[in-house]
Assembly symmetry: D2
Homo-oligomer: 294 residues x 4
């Protein structure tokens, strides 16, 4: 497909947004930014002096991921001065503009002009799949840092075989781990053995769990409850990647002296540049789809 130069206004965000700005600029687009007071950009990127200017310059406005941490002000850690209020940003968006950001709640969307096309980036499937890559690497980095053994030839258990479970299992096997994956149904179990991991049916976990040195949870339910934790080896490291409250009974784990860590939002923490690249790809996919729809 032929590339067409577009304008993007990027308002607030962390190191991922900085990477996004650079990558969109390198892809040949014109970028306007606001909310990065402490960051120095290359000359071809236009730093706007006020939010009004930034929002007006482009038909596509990209907010942070997540859009807000307090539901009132924009998430803009590089911004100095008064916090940017969501309401002000939303009021500036005009008919036929597109606004993309992460975790655009229904409450937020209600405040935005209905003729603005809004996209919650975190609802995009491809972003979620891609984010599983830095999540998996982040989990592996923590596993390497915490334990006195190698991943190679370790007994590693992955709970769940969704996006994160699939990619984490693939990488652990790539490092030479003995990978088992626990799932609920026989279809997933067939995939798991097809890919060369050992499948475990969740209800049989109690019998098997003692032999693992690493357990990675990706299932957003209470899987490792106090009864199952009783069988976990004392030297095992538990890395919980499932969104809050996670899949581990942390209180029980602490009583048993087990090392269990809740590790959230890894992409932005361990690989912000890659995470920015992922947002860029997603944004360009969305633009492509919008063009296709016309």
């Amino acid at each position: 497909m032929e590339k067409k130069q577009m304008n993007f206004s990027i308002i607030g965000g962390d190191a991922r947004s900085v990477a996004l700005i650079r990558l969109l600029e390198e892809a040949g687009h014109q970028i306007y930014v606001y909310g990065f007071t402490t960051h120095i950009f290359s000359k071809s990127i236009i730093v706007c002096s006020c939010i009004e200017e930034a929002v007006q310059k482009s038909s596509i406005v990209i907010g942070p991921v997540p859009c807000s941490q307090d539901q009132v002000t924009l998430f803009a850690p590089f911004h100095q001065g008064d916090p940017i209020e969501l309401d002000i940003l939303f009021s500036l968006l005009s008919d036929h503009q597109t606004f993309m950001a992460g975790q655009l709640t229904i409450a937020m969307q209600k405040k935005i002009n209905p003729l603005v096309y809004t996209v919650d980036l975190l609802e995009r499937e491809e972003l979620a799949v891609w984010n599983a890559i830095p999540t998996a690497e982040g989990a592996i980095q923590i596993a390497m840092e915490e334990q006195p053994i190698t991943i190679h030839q370790s007994c590693s258990l992955v709970l769940g075989f969704g996006r994160c479970g699939k990619i984490l299992s693939h990488m652990l096997k790539g490092l030479g781990a003995n990978v088992s994956v626990a799932v609920r149904n026989s279809k997933d179990a067939a995939y798991i053995s097809a890919y060369g991991y050992q499948p475990i049916i969740l209800q049989d976990l109690k019998r098997e769990i003692h032999r693992f040195q690493f357990i990675y949870n990706t299932i957003p339910h209470m899987i490792l409850d106090h009864r199952l934790l009783l069988y976990v080896n004392k030297d095992c490291l538990i890395i919980d990647l499932a969104s809050k409250p996670g899949g581990v009974d942390y209180e029980a784990a602490e009583k048993l002296g087990l090392n269990a860590m809740l590790c959230l939002s890894l992409p932005g923490k361990v690989a912000p540049t890659t995470a920015g690249w992922i947002i860029k790809e997603t944004v360009l996919n969305i633009c492509e789809e919008m063009r296709g729809d016309k």
Copy 2:
């Protein structure tokens, strides 16, 4: 789970059923067989002299995969004498027996006592996933046989990323091929690049297709139509794994002098023992589920 000895009656089928019989027997079950006149079994397997006896002996009766090729008689290539009529077999099934076979059509199911629990094995998800393994290996075997180049470092294109596309891509990469996978949506494309293949969006295929030496189709629609075939390299081998009528315009391919092969039902052809193992696993899963339901 503790294993419990069960009785199975296996009526008709090809080399896969022979493997199934042996594997169920090795797993400790009592097996009754009918419809394998030309095959000699080990002593512990009981060869019934008539179909009535075979059907009565077990609560679980397993027919062939597929159940019939002509919708009238049982598929039983090892059987000598008069063909076994489906109607006779169906009439022998009694209340609370379970009957499993492949391609149990609605017409067939209507002829069976409604108190018989029937299972179409080919509708089972785990069987379909597992069957993708011998299908992928069969495709690779044919690719090796037909072309004067190695799979290693070849440019290989897989169309589709369902069960067969996933496992075939995985194996081709395992052999060192440069694997591209063409799909329709950006979510699948993200998985494809996460696994280390090059993603191609189907609508961009025309621009890319000339560089491939192997094309494997797994999409059950007309993908490689006469317009797209125009761009395919003359030395390329096209292996079509999609069910009839397949995804290739064979007439156009022939006119263009392209080598396109429709390769169906590979598991039973290239790896009947593995295919029998897959049926066994599926049968035991079904038995497990039936026990769980009680």
Copy 3:
């Protein structure tokens, strides 16, 4: 490095030489050929009417691989008319020409003008390594054709961890086999476990060998003698890739009803185009080295 056009005269050989001719021509070189009567080349390749002309046209003359099968005439299966005598070819080579071919015996080299720079292509290390790739694929193809089970999840044993053992193990693992490799020393055993295969020390083989469904021998000594064959499973396929007489007691294997196959010269048989590419790469490496030496 900048590419420089060179002249090559290619005299005799099989499908690999035909591929070599095409690939050198595509790389921008001028090619003169003799000994391919039954083959039609593209116009840019000059077919010489006599061997004298062909030899004189280039400073680099490339004979077949192997140079001869009977030590008297050139190996030239595409040549019609009287066989080409080695002595005539050798007598035509003049001072400062380079002559490359496969299996250039000492007897042959003695007959060549000592001012001719001769290279036995089969003595080149990189060619031997590259040839391990089509050899491994050929072995896998045969394994797939002969056995009713998949390579995936099979118990596969590789004897030896030299060029062929290394690459075959890598590919078998890539297809999902459970790979064991038997070697003599603990250093190789450490590499084997580092790459994720199970190491077996050769002297312990007797205890382990019964469980394998495929055995690939790459060790050019009598490893699978009659004592060891006693322990091999009756359903096992033995593929012997070691040069004659191979590493299997074939007589004993036959008595035991074992399926053992001696598979030699696989690259030229299963993948002549790739084998021709390998010769091309090797020839260009040699030319590069000759330029570097000057």
Copy 4:
């Protein structure tokens, strides 16, 4: 092979020796220790009150890895009280005992009774191969910690294809990196492409080096000198795994603002338990060989 209970005396060492003690004990051997004042062992391990007792108890005495850091006293970080002098330990070794340790210099060996069989563990090939695994993982951990991008899909260059280069390349590819390996000769280049990495000939490195985001050096010569560093990307991370003084001109790297890190002795730092397991395997191999020699 049948396992025979042996006695081992382990004198000094760090966390690797502690792991070694536990693993030998778990393998059924009787262990005597000295030099671990601050560590509490399980009851079955006998803590000797003086070095004389510890040395006398076993025919096999295992010192630290390395034996000494100052060439005068034993490397014993868990020991409290006066340092243990090498000379005292050496004087206690008696005829027909075996003494193993790391970096047993010639000067040290001269001080030991010639009827003692001495083994420098760091000279053992299998230990060196195995140590490449935690070294590679340690390098990957550092790469993950230092850079804001994922290993996955990064452009990664490995300099050298010895033990460490081989295993590091394998793991980087397992994580999804685009791996290039630079070597001197065409044989190694052939292996590199066989394993699916991109080979680079060292003399062509200048032309290619700018595109890498990670460079791992395993060659113990000055490879990345000031001329080559000029071409390295400013965002690239250089991890130097080659023994002192390493293969990087660190002064030039600093002037250029490049991030270059010399990372030595990684196994003991990142995975002491695995490193202890490696010593245990090596020690048992040596014992096996000694038995075989008798």
